[in-house]
């Protein structure tokens, strides 16, 4: 970070280069990829939460027009390996189609292949499956009870993870503290629900032995998993990363879908495609988010200082494991939020149930945890009769205390929470906002102010893997960039993931342009297929500004160093005696100068002019390790992500007590993600994250009834925030650079979402506090508000 010259392109309001193709309708999504001879898949879902498959009769379906094949689970299971589990739970086996037994409503039982999707759907209706119903469990606490029917009999129980961490002297701190309080909050099962469902197409070429895959994917090590499942060498799998992804925010993982499609493509000798329809996606895209019960206890004093916290998080991952239990692990890296809580006992429990499988969702479990922590702080403030912001300020880590080691082993990089809060309060006129709330109350409305302060751990390594699974020894989560200057002097750089809306082409071009001092618009960014790619772990864990930005920076520095070396060699002077400026290298004392094209010519054509030992050409590569994350866990502690962005939400909500439909009257967020590389992109992330948070806190939930049926399968029931529900949001910026990154940047891909559910919940609870009621489960739906208010008023009358 030291000696950073003024930035020319970084932090400037440049356009996002990806936008041009999308506004013209020229994005290339998986469903747009034209492949000759393509066959289409429709899947048949289970209608029971748990049942033994007695028989499958596909004879009639096979006779339907256009039908090529009906694939059953047993056959697929014989030909493939089970899908990977994150934890060491070998008996929780998962295959893409149900084998012998279904475990949730909607689970895919057979895949029908036909000339068109419509024909495949028609034929799927003709498949007869005989089931024998089995006992099932939906509720998380029931699933945790050892007497519950295990979803996987071979595993013996529904428990996937039951691990208690004690960081610091929790018992002592609780004993010392004069005040304690405890509560339960519930984060309902929702997800990011991209508007594009998951889709994948695959083609097997037996002569070249190549499996070509086009997918709507955002998945670290995606092709590794496909190769493993299909038992083929990884260099036989070519994933095309120039496929645009229509939104992901974590969930576009698609391994099971890909295994089905790839297996069928090999079997039938024809390219095959599966594009989920909305019903497939909602019921069994295996893309639901955390479903979590928190029991929290805090120890504090009369000044509102929180000394210790005990948290049990019980997460219901649904019928299969995958990586989802890790979503209890990532929040360990910010388990005390922005506060100086000295010790923590964390009991992480992950259970299976007969719901759809859970997948990674924006923040990887951090947003629910922040909701629990922020609820605790609100309750402490109420208990000691102090302003909620004042209590936060008293507990915040101070700017001079960074880098700050939290009890669970992560060192926070930097921050200035008090300044961000002060700026937000000044911008919003906090006293005026309180008066406005009181005036609204006086006019007969319910009105409340919500507050949330939280961190966005960013730069994603995967330290939670070895922390929760001792057999896992992952200590790198690298990302890479390659830059090539061609024989005519034009610059092309590679990035090694798909586009799902975060502007990585813009990011890489901006950073390379900054270092080389050339116009980023002149730099081409390409996304090679996975066989031509360098290692990448995809845009998870809010990491690309740090990791791709870092890799591009270091690659550009290597390129610049090579150019400087070539020039110094021509000048016959030391490298330190030349100056690089805008692609031209000069030595003022010697009155010598070498321009960009001269370097290009020497590197590409004049080997005799190159310094001894230098490779010809102007091509460089950098594979970047995550800053700070280099060690395996020790004693249940580990350095999780390197950087920590801060956000502070201040929200005013009002609603009619009879109707209960919350209107967000004011939304101000203070945001500090260090140096911003592209302001448009960061703003979009924050605003979009807040919209997701509004959905999770007020509208969205995958609701299952006691029979295990999913009640919210369509967008008529699973409600997404529209432009009416998302208010105008005011962003107050602050910049505390990270000492661990090349420009001082931190992550922002999860911003907004990590704190808005806590803030909105706080606002609604403030609004109903005068009635003596509160809400402890998200989403707080309109009906829940009006019903609770009506019940409270009836009780008052009685």
């Amino acid at each position: 970070m030291s000696n950073v010259p003024p930035l020319k392109f970084v932090s400037s309001n440049r356009r996002v280069r990806e936008d041009r193709r999308f506004v013209a309708g020229q994005g290339r999504y998986v469903a747009d990829v034209a492949i000759e001879g393509l066959l289409h898949i429709a899947v048949l879902p289970s209608q029971y939460p748990a049942a033994r498959i007695v028989s499958i009769d596909a004879a009639e379906a096979m006779k339907m027009p256009g039908v090529h094949y009906v694939l059953k689970g047993e056959e697929l299971a014989k030909a493939t390996e089970p899908l990977m589990n994150g934890l060491d739970t070998p008996n929780v086996r998962r295959f893409p189609l149900a084998v012998g037994q279904v475990r949730y409503v909607g689970e895919w039982v057979v895949a029908v292949v036909a000339e068109t999707r419509a024909q495949a759907e028609d034929a799927a209706e003709k498949v007869r499956v005989e089931y024998e119903k089995l006992p099932y469990v939906i509720d998380s606490e029931e699933a945790y009870d050892p007497s519950s029917p295990p979803v996987h009999a071979a595993h013996g129980s529904n428990l996937l993870l039951d691990k208690t961490f004690v960081w610091g002297e929790v018992d002592k701190h609780f004993a010392e503290s004069p005040r304690h309080l405890s509560f339960r909050v519930i984060w309902g099962r929702s997800s990011t629900v991209p508007i594009e469902t998951f889709g994948v197409a695959a083609k097997w070429d037996p002569w070249r032995e190549i499996l070509d895959v086009w997918a709507s994917i955002q998945m670290p090590k995606y092709s590794d998993q496909i190769a493993r499942c299909l038992r083929i060498p990884l260099n036989n799998v070519r994933v095309h990363q120039d496929v645009d992804v229509g939104g992901s925010y974590g969930v576009k993982r698609g391994i099971k879908q890909t295994v089905i499609v790839a297996h069928l493509a090999r079997l039938l000798g024809r390219p095959v495609r599966l594009i989920e329809d909305r019903l497939d996606n909602m019921r069994a895209g295996d893309a639901h988010g955390p479903d979590r019960i928190f029991d929290v206890e805090v120890a504090f004093d009369n000044e509102g200082i929180v000394k210790s916290m005990k948290m049990r998080a019980l997460d219901n991952v649904g019928a299969y494991a995958g990586r989802s239990p890790f979503q209890l692990g990532k929040p360990i890296g910010a388990i005390v939020g922005p506060y100086k809580i000295q010790s923590v006992k964390y009991h992480a429990v992950s259970v299976t149930s007969n719901k759809a499988a859970q997948e990674a969702v924006r923040g990887f479990g951090q947003a629910p945890t922040n909701y629990a922590i922020e609820t605790a702080i609100d309750k402490v403030a109420a208990a000691v009769s102090l302003d909620r912001i004042e209590v936060r300020r008293r507990n915040f880590i101070r700017s001079e205390e960074f880098p700050y080691l939290i009890p669970s082993g992560t060192r926070y990089d930097s921050g200035d929470y008090h300044t961000v809060v002060a700026k937000v309060l000044a911008h919003a006129d906090y006293e005026g906002l309180k008066r406005e709330r009181d005036q609204l109350r006086a006019s007969g409305l319910c009105a409340g102010i919500g507050i949330a302060a939280c961190l966005e751990p960013s730069g994603g390594n995967s330290s939670f893997e070895p922390l929760l699974n001792e057999k896992n020894t992952t200590t790198t989560w690298m990302d890479s960039c390659r830059i090539n200057v061609d024989g005519l002097g034009f610059v092309t750089a590679t990035i090694h993931t798909t586009s799902s809306g975060q502007g990585h082409e813009t990011l890489a071009a901006t950073v390379i342009g900054e270092v080389l001092e050339i116009d980023p618009d002149q730099i081409r960014i390409v996304r090679p297929d996975t066989l031509s790619s360098l290692p990448s772990n995809s845009p998870v864990g809010s990491r690309m500004a740090i990791m791709l930005g870092g890799a591009a920076f270091h690659a550009a520095q290597k390129l610049k160093a090579k150019i400087v070396r070539i020039a110094a060699h021509q000048f016959g002077c030391a490298e330190k005696d030349v100056t690089y400026e805008g692609g031209t290298v000069s030595n003022a004392a010697l009155k010598k100068k070498l321009g960009w094209m001269e370097h290009v010519t020497i590197a590409h054509r004049n080997f005799h002019l190159l310094p001894e030992g230098m490779e010809p050409g102007l091509e460089v590569t950098h594979v970047m390790q995550v800053p700070t994350g280099t060690q395996l866990p020790k004693d249940g502690r580990v350095q999780m992500y390197p950087c920590h962005s801060f956000e502070f939400h201040l929200v005013l909500v009002a609603f009619d007590p009879e109707i209960g439909k919350p209107e967000i009257r004011r939304y101000v967020i203070g945001h500090d993600c260090g140096t911003v590389i592209n302001p448009h992109i960061v703003k979009g992330m924050t605003l979009g994250g807040i919209a997701h948070g509004i959905g999770a806190s007020l509208l969205e939930e995958f609701v299952y009834d006691s029979e295990g049926q999913m009640l919210t399968q369509s967008f008529m029931d699973y409600l997404l925030p529209s432009s009416h529900e998302v208010p105008h949001v005011e962003i107050v910026h602050h910049c505390t650079p990270s000492p661990f990154t090349v420009f001082g940047q931190k992550g922002s891909g999860e911003s907004g979402y990590l704190g808005s559910p806590a803030a909105i919940s706080g606002a609604i609870n403030d609004a109903v506090a005068p009635l003596g009621i509160s809400f402890s489960k998200l989403p707080i739906r309109i009906a829940a508000i009006s019903d609770a208010i009506a019940a409270a008023k009836n009780k008052e009358k009685a």
Binding site: D19, G25, I195, G247, R278, G684, I690, H692, S714
Partner: protein, 181 residues
Amino acid sequence: MKVRLNVNRQLREADIEPRKTLLDTLREDFLLVGCHAGCEHGVCGACTVLIDGEPSRSCLMFAVQADGYEITTIEGLSPAPGELSIVQDAFCETHGLQCGFCTPGMILTAHALLEGNEAPTREDIVEAISGNICRCTGYGQIVEAIEHAADRLRKTNVPRKTGGAAQGEAAQPDGPRGGRS
């Protein structure tokens, strides 16, 4: 059965099943893949096209119902290859998109609004796009894009509908229109 449709000011013919939606026909038979399938039950608006200038859900309409109407897809909006309309350019200026999946429908909706309303208020814009769900942006930069486009359109001489459809009041085409209450 054979249909002949007026798409982006061109007559296009296709031989399709009567049950085929306009969305699938545009995508599969005319290769106009800027029109996207999001929910296929009329809520999300990713499949929005203009039918006689009015934003409509192509997933809720059979192709055979579209006979006789003027259909505009996102591909019909760019003035020339590589050239953006004012509305499209405004979305680039404010970054009114991320993944781009809802964007064609959103831009067609914005285009229709601005054809009939020279100076839309923020409320007009919010109302106009409320049937198009975007999961990426939280709508802020979309609203800014439309405000910016309105401003730029006012300063140009691009001819627009006069006294035409203000949002919500226009005559509805026969095809079903989606929308949220």
